[in-house]
């Protein structure tokens, strides 16, 4: 069978590359970038509208743009890119053929048509229900239909991933356990199956309801099951971008995980517990018991957070170990100072790690605490938090690995290299800015998903403190910066894919540098050394920040509810 498959050998890593898998990776990655461009533009329009001095869009267009933004970036960009990651982590890293490329193309076709159908529905203006589409708000039927088709397509993609794991094992294309990056992708795929099943359970009846075939959908049941999809899908992202961190560490430094066992156990924590945190979306619903809320969002979630903290330590730790083995042993931080900060793959990955931990991670734990959640539930703090996770974390990590994938998979030299070295900083700092300022405004009470923070036409007037207006102005400025960084990414990727110099079959790309020991990305095996004082110090800073911020919020809660 496998003799009929068309393989090439990667001149950089020595991996065997199934050309069918390669084509699918390209198609999914290109679709992803196109929707990131569209969705990012909507994001800019939303942010400009929430900038009080600009207040760009009229109210109805604001809600339309906000729906399109959430949909195109959170679902379409990320999931298309994740399909590319799944095919890369299975077929390519396992030296295997892809199981059922025809199925994979069917999945791709469904995802693309679904994304287009839902986008058209949103742009027509009768479906501005936000991507959460809470009932009893009703969108036009094509809105739901498109999302369902998209999800079915993604489910097929997961099936192809599992199929490829089986094929690779049967055809003995690898020995022992799968590489860690593949294991991380497996974690993402498992969570994806739960996510998509939950989505189908709730969105199919909702489609029938909007067609008039079902009379009633219970709002609280809808919300509960919808978030089994909505929250879990964020955990697909976390698993996928952690896998991408490990992949970049391996491909830029030849770094091996500090301990395969520890890292895999951390992924197992994700598989078992991460999805339970869906309950944090229900923390203000009176219908659930505190037992249910606290078990799901605290006890269980802390185990998953533990997983993230393990990755947060072992990824930079593995880089430190690899750098020290290369002789960069001076002091605590020579390994980090002399890291390739001009390599956009590394710079993007490292910022993704830091911002995900400090901004997205800490705020997530704070919001997941039932009591302090009440300070910021449904305020702009929430989008502030998840722009820290899903934009500064996931999106930046995906951007970073693109700089390696374009030369290796698209076989084109990168164009505009100077711009590429700047891109992660412009985007990363822009996004960190919008995350922090939205969190700041949210702490002052500013609502999310709200067109006019001055309440100009409200019967009962209300004024936010002027600091809140300042926050939203700063948010606007950093949004422009983030959008610029996003545009730079799109220009570099599209420019390279279509106009970059074609690489010959056995030619190694000249940029960014991928050393021969990058082949570590496709192997099982832990690093020899565990000497990571620099990383230990950074982790210490993280814990201090975490604890301080957590208790500041309890203090703040006590001031909101004077009990004495």
């Amino acid at each position: 069978m496998s003799s009929l498959i068309d393989f090439r050998t990667c001149p950089t890593t020595g991996l065997k590359v199934d050309r069918a898998a390669e084509k699918l990776i390209k198609a999914n990655a290109v679709a992803a970038v196109v929707f990131l461009a569209i969705g990012g533009l909507f994001g800019l329009l939303v942010a400009l509208t929430r900038w009080p001095a600009v207040h760009f869009l009229p109210a109805d267009m604001f809600y339309l743009a906000l729906t399109a933004h959430g949909l195109d970036v959170l679902l379409v960009w990320i999931i298309f890119f994740e399909m590319a990651v799944l095919y890369f982590a299975s077929a390519i890293l396992l030296n295997s053929r892809l199981a059922g490329p025809k199925w994979a193309w069917t999945g791709f076709g469904l995802m693309l048509s679904g994304a287009l159908i839902t986008n058209v529905a949103v742009l027509q203006g009768q479906s501005s229900v936000m991507f959460t589409s809470y009932v009893p708000m009703m969108a036009e039927p094509p809105f739901y239909l498109g999302i369902i088709l998209f999800a079915v397509g993604a489910l097929i993609g997961c099936g192809v991933f599992f199929g490829t794991l089986v094929v690779a094992k049967r055809e003995k294309t690898y020995e022992g356990s799968v590489p860690l990056v593949t294991f991380g992708a497996l974690t993402a795929a498992i969570i994806a199956v739960f996510t998509i099943a939950s989505g189908a359970i709730i969105l199919i009846p909702t489609l029938l309801w909007s067609l008039g075939l079902v009379s009633h959908i219970d709002p609280i049941i809808y919300k509960t099951i919808w978030w089994a999809m909505g929250h879990s899908s964020q955990q697909i992202n976390v698993s996928a971008h952690v896998a991408v961190w490990y992949a970049i560490a391996a491909m830029v430094f030849g770094a091996k995980p500090l301990s395969e066992k520890v890292s895999r156990t951390a992924f197992l924590m994700y598989i078992l517990f991460l999805q339970l945190a869906s309950a944090h979306h229900m923390l203000v619903e009176p219908g659930f018991s505190s037992e249910w809320k606290i078990f799901n969002t605290s006890y269980a979630m802390y185990l998953a957070v533990l997983g993230s903290m393990v990755h947060g330590m072992t990824v930079p730790g593995s880089i430190e170990a690899a750098q020290r083995a290369r002789g960069l042993t001076k002091g605590m931080f020579e390994w980090l100072r002399k890291a390739p900060w001009g390599n956009p793959a590394f710079a993007g990955m490292f910022m993704s790690l830091v911002f995900f931990g400090f901004i997205g991670g800490i705020s997530g734990v704070v919001m997941g605490t039932e009591q302090i959640n009440l300070i910021m539930h449904n305020t702009l703090y929430v989008p502030g938090h998840f722009h820290g996770t899903v934009v500064a974390g996931t999106t930046l990590a995906f951007m970073a690995i693109t700089y390696i994938l374009v030369p290796l998979i698209f076989r084109r030299e990168l164009v505009l290299r100077k711009l590429a070295t700047w891109q992660p900083y412009v985007f990363g700092i822009g996004v960190a800015g919008i995350s922090v300022f939205m969190m700041g405004a949210g702490t002052l009470g500013v609502a999310r998903r709200h067109w006019d923070m001055t309440f100009a036409d409200a019967i009962l007037p209300f004024d936010y403190p002027s600091a809140a207006f300042l926050m939203m102005g700063l948010n606007g400025i950093f949004a422009v910066m983030a959008a610029l960084g996003g545009l730079m990414y799109v220009v570099i990727v599209v420019g390279s894919v279509f106009f970059g110099r074609k690489l010959a079959e056995d030619e190694k790309p000249s940029y960014p540098e991928v050393p021969p020991d990058s082949a570590a990305v496709g192997h099982y095996g832990s690093s020899e050394s565990l000497k990571i004082p620099g990383t230990a110090f950074l982790v210490g800073i993280f814990f201090v920040a975490f604890v301080l911020y957590y208790f500041v919020n309890w203090k703040y809660l006590s001031e909101i509810w004077p009990l004495s």
Binding site: D218, L268, I271, L276, A279, G287, W292, N296
Partner: protein, 61 residues
């Protein structure tokens, strides 16, 4: 973090060595078992338990 039960040992994939592979590693090497766990745990603790609580909310009259 000792390495004694990792690469070399599991490279011999003939079934005679199966029982020397630690239990935890057998679990981590079994994608379908992980899949079942990854669906069952949230289905029970979040969805089923959650829905049971919703059905017990008294209905106003």
């Amino acid at each position: 973090m000792n390495e004694k039960d990792s690469p070399d040992q599991n490279e011999s994939s003939d079934s005679g060595h199966q029982d020397q592979i630690p239990l935890m590693q057998q679990l981590l090497d079994n994608p379908f078992l992980l899949l079942v766990l990854g669906i069952a745990v949230p289905a029970v603790f979040y969805i089923i338990w959650g829905i049971i609580e919703i059905t017990q909310i008294p209905i106003a009259d």
